[in-house]
Amino acid sequence: MSALLEVRGLTRRFGGLTAVDAVDLDLGEHEFVSIIGPNGAGKTTLFNLVTGLDDPDAGRVRLAGHDVTGFSPEKLAALGVARTFQHGRVFANLSVLDNILVGAHVRFKSVRPAWPAPLSLIEPLAELALALVRPGAVKAEEARMREEALAILARFGDRLLPRKDNPAYSLSYANRRRVEIGRALALGPRLLMLDEPTAGMNQTETAEMQALIGDLKKSGLTILLIEHKLDMVMQLSDRVIVMDEGHVIANGKPAEVRNDPKVIEAYLGHHRADRPPVEEAAE
């Protein structure tokens, strides 16, 4: 299996705290890897480093063989990295459908011309002109994207489709998480990174989400998942990575990791009584 994502020695310090400490991680094409670990282990920070929202103090990130360390999030999105956010970041005043369409932003080619160097300076003006004049190709592209967005919404059963024109702020918590995942799918990702997609969901909703993520896996998507619900992790993952205090403390098949004494210790929190164990505490 060729590695789609290769992380080497990735480190991020916040003052005296090393949130991510020399982390190595490999993710093969079509692989499904979960990252688990107690709160504060550095999982989200790792996501931020990989997606360009934060800059590492040391280490490298390679995507499909190319060094992408320190790339901006915009650039990484264009390279096919899509993520969701642990605490939910939908565009509150945009309709559900518009949220999905923003997810497809990097795939709008007709209305966002890409020109070589000197011409690229006037790209924004061309984009403005095309948006206002709307030649056939632009209209067709918009129509096609809308179709696809509706198809994405349909994947969530009747959760989102009937609410497609409602503003995202009016949605339930669980539906907002769904919108986020829909938005990530609209990007047409090569690498999908989900940060606790079932946080705050009840059992039915979690099961539904698990089924959806299972479908995504079957469709061949490469997925990196942060999740606290271990049943789900064990059932979905090809491989599980366990983090604690910024380190990777275990990495292997679900069954191996489950019985690793270091993992059990980290989870039971013998060495640090002040940490809430597995289930997410209010953050």
Binding site: T51, L53, S72, P73, E74, A77, A78, A82, R83, F85, R89, V90, F91, A92, N93, L94, D98, L101, V102, G103, H105, V106, F108, V111, P124, E127, L128, A131, L132, R134, E142, P167, Y169, S170, R183, L187
Partner: protein, 607 residues
């Protein structure tokens, strides 16, 4: 040599006075994350309270100061009560906008009571000067220095050694934690507003004595200076505010020595922009730390916008076009023409502040750029008026965007302050760049409107022309909002982090929105200059920026029809009822204050 000592002393004294303002702003920002735009009004009220005490009560200096402190503190409590407390849980920029409203109301009240003309604030101390080395220092200088030091000492003691002072520091550090530990955050706010406003008021009376001059218009400049000093020292940083103030005083004083008085404020605002962009935490803080959050600046209240069908909009445009035939009164036509010009400004601001979420407080500068561009193109280069107005729009789009571009990385309040400063810089450059702009004399003899060689010399033709331009630009803006760009702009506004993660380059889209919006503002300024035939650096003043903001909030942020409705209501209605000019600003202030509090989504709803 001796003059340098004088300039230094002068700079430190002015810096001392700024410090009294800036410390208050820093205290308030520290506990409430609010930039209190009413602070300059407190300063003015303080100056006038001192004036009353000195002229009518013959009060000696300590009594005067005592009275001023009490008046200031009471006023501070009032500002906290109306500007901050009711707005907790609203958008973060809501209290800022409310304090702008309060400052309009206070300044206007002072003007109504005391008349707008400047007054003398005599001080017997002014004439006594002592020789030190080769320079001199006045008794008043020493008093000011003493009051500055005494206040700093008292404040230090209060913050360090009293229970309440401890509560203030705890709240400033972590509001929620302080609350959980039983700190009465409301009491902290009241205390801080009272102290801050007491100091601000003293600052006002001291400035009045120093220059033997007070006038109600000092308010806005005072707020700005306090904000500059605070930004330089680091927002919410009390010792930083003092250092920033002294630095600002010195920079201004030496600047005046080198270049003359008209450059004074230019230095202050350039310093502000440079610090904001390069060192947003102030000169004394580490570079990598993020500025204090949360400061997202959008002012978008969830609402169900009223969506008029295109037929209704066309109908409304048709009715507007028929007005000159039905009501031939030149007065009504002029008032409505004016409304359309403001609507153009509103279209611009509603896109920039509403749709893409950059709450600009310096929008009048775009009018000024457009107005000067069109006037000078016709006068100096003989460009036909129609082409000049179009070019003015393009020039404004370009210049406006270039000027604001470095500030796009700023968020929330910081961007708002930056736009405010850029607005002031534009007006000061116009004042000082004499060979191009004719400086303080202004530009006169600007040719009246004409199009393709036809003079638009009747009120009707001017009306139709302005209406047509406005309707066309509104239609284009509708189309823009209906495209993928409308979606992208609003995504940038709602969550810039998520937007970036989906491939949206913030600078690019902010610049696009800014350029598009600036075009309309530039065209509006251009047309205005040809209608007025005379403009100067004060024609498009900072008050207009706030009026524009009130218009777009009234209409509903981001809402195209809202901008037009807001403009007709706010510019047209007072004319129709012939409200006297001095009450108009009062009304704008009140409307802004009430909107922020009770109807942030405006009339037509936010988009």
């Amino acid at each position: 040599m001796s003059s340098w000592i004088d300039y230094t002393v002068n700079g430190l004294i002015i810096g001392n006075i700024y410090a009294l303002l800036a410390v208050g702003l820093a205290l308030i920002f520290g506990v409430s994350r609010l930039i209190n735009f009413a602070h300059g009004s407190v300063y003015v009220v303080g100056a006038y309270a001192g004036f009353l005490a000195v002229t009518y009560l013959d009060a000696p200096l300590p009594v005067t100061i005592g009275i001023v402190v009490v008046v200031g503190a009471l006023l501070g409590l009032g500002i906290e009560r109306f500007g901050l407390r009711p707005l907790q849980g609203h958008a973060h920029i809501a209290p800022l906008l409310a304090t702008i409203g309060i400052s309009f109301v206070l300044d206007q009240l002072v003007q109504l009571f005391f008349k707008p003309d400047p007054r003398a604030l005599p001080s017997t101390l002014l004439d006594q000067r002592f020789q030190i080395g080769s320079g001199t220092i006045g008794a008043l200088d020493l008093v000011i220095a003493a009051i500055g030091l005494l206040s700093a000492g008292l404040l230090y003691y209060f913050l360090r050694y009293t229970r309440l002072g401890w509560a203030v520091r705890a709240t400033a550090q972590d509001r929620d934690a302080a609350q959980q530990m039983g700190v009465d955050v409301d009491a902290v706010h009241r205390t801080v507003f009272a102290i801050a406003s007491g100091l601000g008021a003293v600052s006002g009376v001291l400035v009045g004595m120093y220059y033997n001059y007070i006038d109600p218009a000092m308010s806005f400049q005072a707020t700005l200076k306090g904000v500059v000093a605070q930004v330089v020292g680091g927002m919410g940083n009390v010792p930083g505010a003092i250092a920033g103030s002294l630095l600002l005083g010195l920079v201004e004083s030496y600047g005046i020595a080198l270049f003359g008085t008209s450059y004074r404020n230019l230095f202050a605002f350039v310093l502000l922009i440079v610090v904001l962009v390069l060192r947003p935490n102030g000169l004394f803080a580490g570079r990598r730390r993020a500025p204090p959050e949360p400061l997202t600046g959008t002012f978008i209240a969830p609402s169900k916008p009223i969506n008029l069908p295109p037929s209704a909009l066309l109908g409304a445009a048709a009715v507007a076009a028929l007005v000159p035939l039905m009501i031939p009164s030149p007065y009504v036509l002029q008032v409505l023409t004016n409304s359309w010009l403001y609507a153009l400004l509103g279209l611009s601001l509603t896109l920039i502040a509403g749709t893409v979420g950059l709450v600009s407080l310096g929008h009048a500068a775009l009018l000024a750029i457009g107005g000067y561009a069109s006037a000078l193109l016709t006068l100096n280069a003989g460009v036909p008026v129609g082409a000049a107005i179009l070019s003015a729009g393009l020039i404004t789009a370009f210049l406006g965007t270039v000027l604001v571009f470095p500030s796009f990385r700023l968020r929330g309040h910081y961007l708002s302050i930056a736009t405010l400063a850029i607005g002031e810089i534009v007006s000061l450059v116009i004042l000082n760049w004499e060979w191009l702009t004719r400086g303080p004399i202004g530009v006169s003899g600007i040719p009246s409107l004409s199009l393709f060689g036809f003079e638009l010399d009747t009120d009707r033709s001017v009306y139709w022309f302005t209406l047509a331009v406005m309707v066309i630009l509104a239609a284009v803006q509708f189309r823009l909002l209906g495209s993928h760009l409308g979606r992208v702009f609003r995504a940038v506004r709602d969550d810039d982090v998520a937007a970036r993660s989906y491939g949206i380059r913030l600078d690019r889209y902010k610049a696009l929105a800014f350029a598009f919006g600036s075009f309309a503002a530039g065209v509006s300024g251009g047309i205005t200059s040809h209608i007025y035939s005379y403009i100067n650096h004060e024609t498009f003043n900072a008050q207009l920026s706030i009026l524009a903001l009130t218009i777009v909030i009234l209409g509903g942020m981001g809402n195209v029809t809202g901008a037009i409705v807001g403009s007709v209501l706010l510019v047209g209605l007072p004319e129709v009822f012939r409200v006297a000019a001095e009450y108009r600003v009062l009304i704008y202030g009140l409307v802004l204050l009430l909107l922020v509090r009770f109807r942030p989504q405006g009339i037509m709803g936010t988009l």
